[in-house]
Amino acid sequence: MRVADDVVCPFCGCLCDDLRVTIDDNDVITRVDNACALGKTKMLHRMDDRLLVPEVRRDGKLERTTLEEAIDTAAQLLAESRRPLIYGLSSTENDAHRAVYRLAEMIGAVVDNTSSVCHGPSILGRQESGEPLASLGEVRNRAQLVIYWGANPLQAHPRHVRRFVRIPGEYIRDPRTERRMWVVDVRRSATARIADRFIKVEPGSDLEVIEALRALIKGRTLDVSEVGGVPIDELAEAAEELRSVEYGVLFYGLGLTQSRGRYRNIDAAIRLVRDLNRFGKWGMMPMRGHYNVTGANETSTWTTGFPFAVDYSRGYPRYQPGEYTAVDMLRHGEADLLLNIAADPAAHFPRDTVRRMRDIPIINIDPKRNLTSLMATVNIPAAMAGVECDGAASRMDELPLYLRKLVDPPEGVLPDRDIVRLIIERIEGAVDER
């Protein structure tokens, strides 16, 4: 029996790194301490629904095959494709991303990560106005007011509140009296129920509410009785409190990025936080979902200059969200092949987009069976990063953390990075032969 301490949880953007994992003599994870239910499940049930053997579709049916043949088929499909799309990346480690960009450059593919369907608007907002970023450590040490806007961490990031907010920090000795927590959302979520203040906005009216707060903070009076379903007195009171805070932070989630207004919401939120910096110290942070979606943006940025939605077809990176984003590439019928790696687009994309996926070959690299693997032309099982192979990932506040290998992957199963390298070698070999 072995016990590993301070293990990083490769599930959500909190990247909690205080897990204690117990492993028995047969390389089975028997116990996971400190993690939430999501993290525990990922580790304890790592063998559930696994893809264990490569598969290739023949006459409409997925058949088991060797890794070599799966790589061959993948390489051939990629070589034949005229407009390949590579998508995913957010649930794997950074070295896998680096291998993917090399492949994308080599074959002139479009490469996109899952932020195009979650925090893409946050990135566009940042490109419009910049962004005052907070860090989780400073939140715990200093924040007197924490706002969750359009986010329900109790469900999606279960330890977020407990690790960073409802906990003492160096300059916040008693979090119950010295730190307040607000939730702004369209419904009274689980997080809203434990908040010190809940502001309920009408669906689709976040932008109006943010703009109203900005005006009130600047001392203007608004001649209306309510904005976005929030009584004006309540907003005025909130604005007054915002102005008096010495250190505040705004966490924002998909409720803000994916509701009406999208990147304009974020742009406005950034401006709100910027305005608040005239009164106190304010920062903000997107509640990133997949554990390494932040890393996917970072690796894409240092390699290509752009955080997502990159097209290599001209031999250099071009960037156009709305065009080179995966959903748009599929919806417009532009992509003639999808290489999916460490994501499940069939489960998360809009229905018309998923229908389009049926018309093109799909190469799927993932540890698990999922909706995408059911549609795939080729399935290649992958090791689970942070459990079965090492690597690095970035927390939601851009802190890089090293993910350890705890146990061996199932026999014959390789890390994503090695699978992609094999595909690259196969394509390079084919080019040499010609």
């Binding site: 490109q127 400073e138 390699t303 200059g305 250099y316 990176p317 960037y319 690095a392 970035s394």
Partner: protein, 578 residues
């Protein structure tokens, strides 16, 4: 297998070995320069072209979270400059903030082979190590930030110098860092309270400490540890009119602390363009009153020899300001009305670093005066060995504009052409227009090669062409016997923009305008201070506890794992005890 190369007919500029324009051959074996090679050596005849050691950039932001945030915030920057893939190189983009592969390729083409990233937030060092393999060819050194860090403050406030030395040792080993960077000591910390530290003896929030105490304690600790490179200082009040007073006061504070060190230079003052701003009206801080402090700093430099500088020369056109000086970045954002990024980093930079895009224009009075500061300085100092050419890339412009900076230093004619384009009110704010001095190619070789290598303490292997040096060599497409560069400024720009040939660790990495990084040996230089084992043990425990108290990740996950370092890291010896 031994690999030998004979570079024939080199017109050598090797200031460390006092060679100025002598025609000789250079012998290379297995990545090093040697006295002689066998007859099997590959011969490259460079036909009397000028041959310099590989360039050493002492201050350029090339990796890590600041430049990456800037890249992601500014797609508009990248559309101006795209770099397609080639059979030997990867593709990329970017003018002010190029993508990683492009950075290595551009440096290689310019004949630079060693670059210091001067501002690494230590707890994000892992991301830097991940990025380094994607910055081809060049050797890299990293300077972690120490000056706005609660653990640093804990030891200084407790007057525990042994603890401070121990912490520096711990952190440099954990990150693979090379030296100690100090940025706006106390000010960035105060920014967590929306404040700055404008006075060097004011107390900062939450600590019984002043900027001067922080700076001088770190200088003392670095000297006691005998680190190869002294403290690398970005002073307080950066980018403010009249800050020459602060800068000189800080230099004085360090000078008074000098008796603790045997080393001559105990401080490196970086990017003086931003630190030496005077005003026509004493005490005024208005940009209307801006004047160059370049001459004043040069005069101070000529009288006191305890420090070295790099220029941070302003260049016109798009740039990207990025510093660990949160309050400065916010100020710049407020006056320039552009986008602003603040990057808080836990306990190490509670107030945060910042990024603001900026474009320098000769039409602006302020920018015109800023342009003259560093040139005025460089043309008035006695000792080029204490002066390094930089643009604080990309703060005062990207490093690809070094050839322009060199042309301004080497050619009075070229300066006059540029002076004519400046805001006319600026001309009386500096003595630059009267300056006649022209730097020689030998002096340029000092300020871009020999001096930075010596200031960094890596001069055994870098910055010269004598036996034992790394075979990092820049062959310029210029024959000194045929023409004088100062009469042909456009030639200066051409030959420094793209070499005839660049060799890195004995491998030809640039020739005929083709960059080829394949097979080249590269390094990340670090240091390993020596400490009594008992001290190291105590500090190791204490730092672990402090991290677990103040940070929200475990101290065991702080150090960069060997996996990322082992193929690259190479420790540089400490300075000998005297």
């Amino acid at each position: 297998m031994t690999q030998e190369i004979l570079l024939k007919n080199c017109t050598v500029y090797d200031p460390m070995n006092r060679i100025e324009g002598e025609v000789t051959d250079i012998c290379v074996r297995d990545g090093k320069i040697v006295e002689s090679v066998s007859t099997d050596a590959q011969v490259i005849d460079v036909r009397r072209r000028a041959v310099l050691p590989g360039g050493v950039d002492i201050h350029s932001h090339i990796i890590g979270s600041k430049i990456n945030s800037a890249r992601s915030m500014c797609p508009e920057d990248h559309r101006r400059a795209v770099v397609p893939k080639t059979p030997t190189t990867r593709s990329g983009v970017g003018e002010a903030v190029p993508s990683s592969f492009v950075i290595g390729q551009l440096y290689t083409a310019m004949g630079y082979t060693t670059v210091v990233d001067p501002a690494v937030p230590p707890m994000k060092a892992l991301a830097c190590w991940e990025e380094i393999p994607d910055v081809p060819v060049i050797d890299i050194l990293m300077l972690p930030l120490f000056s706005n860090n609660m653990i640093t403050y804990h030891y200084i406030e407790g007057q525990d110098m042994e603890g401070l030395r121990g912490y520096i040792d711990w952190l440099l080993r954990a990150t693979g860092g090379f030296g100690v960077k100090v940025v706006n000591p106390g000010g960035t910390y105060a920014w967590a309270h929306n404040l700055n530290a404008e006075h060097l003896d004011q107390t900062i929030p939450e600590w019984d400490l002043t900027p001067n105490q922080i700076l001088t304690s770190l200088v003392r600790a670095v000297e006691e540890l005998r680190l190869p490179h002294p403290v690398h200082l970005h002073p307080n009040n950066l980018g403010r009119v009249g800050n020459i007073e602060t800068t000189i006061a800080q230099l004085e504070a360090v000078r008074r602390a000098r008796r603790t060190s045997k080393r001559k230079h105990i401080l490196h003052l970086t990017h003086i363009s931003f630190d030496s701003i005077a005003s026509v009206d004493e005490g005024s801080t208005r940009w209307e009153d801006v004047a160059s402090g370049g001459l004043e700093l040069a005069e101070y430099t000529n009288q006191h020899d305890h420090f070295t500088v790099d220029l941070g020369q302003i260049t016109f056109g798009p740039a990207m300001t990025m510093t660990a000086d949160g309050p400065f970045q916010y100020l710049l954002h407020r006056v320039s009305h552009t986008k602003w990024m603040n990057i808080t980093v836990d306990v190490e930079l509670p107030g945060g670093a910042g990024v603001v895009p900026y474009s320098y224009s000769p039409k602006s009075l302020a920018n015109s005066v800023q342009w003259m500061i560093a040139l005025e300085y460089a043309l008035n100092i006695d000792d080029p060995w204490r002066c390094v050419i930089t643009t604080d890339s990309p703060n005062a412009g990207p490093f690809v504009r070094y050839p322009l900076v060199i042309s301004w230093l080497m050619s009075r004619r070229e300066r006059e052409t540029w002076l004519e384009t400046l805001n006319s009110r600026s001309l009386s704010r500096s003595t630059l227009s009267g300056a006649e001095r022209e730097w020689s190619l030998y002096e340029i070789a000092i300020a871009t090669r020999a001096a930075p290598a010596r200031i960094l303490g890596i001069d055994e292997r870098k910055g010269h062409l004598g036996a034992g040096a790394d075979a990092d060599i820049a062959v310029l497409d210029h024959m000194p016997s045929d023409s004088s560069l100062s009469d042909h400024p456009e030639e200066i720009v051409r030959v420094f923009h793209s070499t005839y040939l660049t060799m890195k660790a004995g491998t030809v990495v640039h020739r005929n305008d083709v960059v080829n990084p394949s097979g080249v040996r590269r390094r990340v230089f670090s240091v390993q201070p020596t400490l009594p084992e008992a001290t190291r043990k105590r500090i190791h425990n204490e730092v672990g506890q402090l991290i677990d108290r103040w940070y929200v990740h475990s101290h065991t996950n702080y150090p960069v794992p060997r996996r990322y370092r082992q193929a690259l890291e190479s420790p540089i010896p400490l300075r000998p005890a005297t």
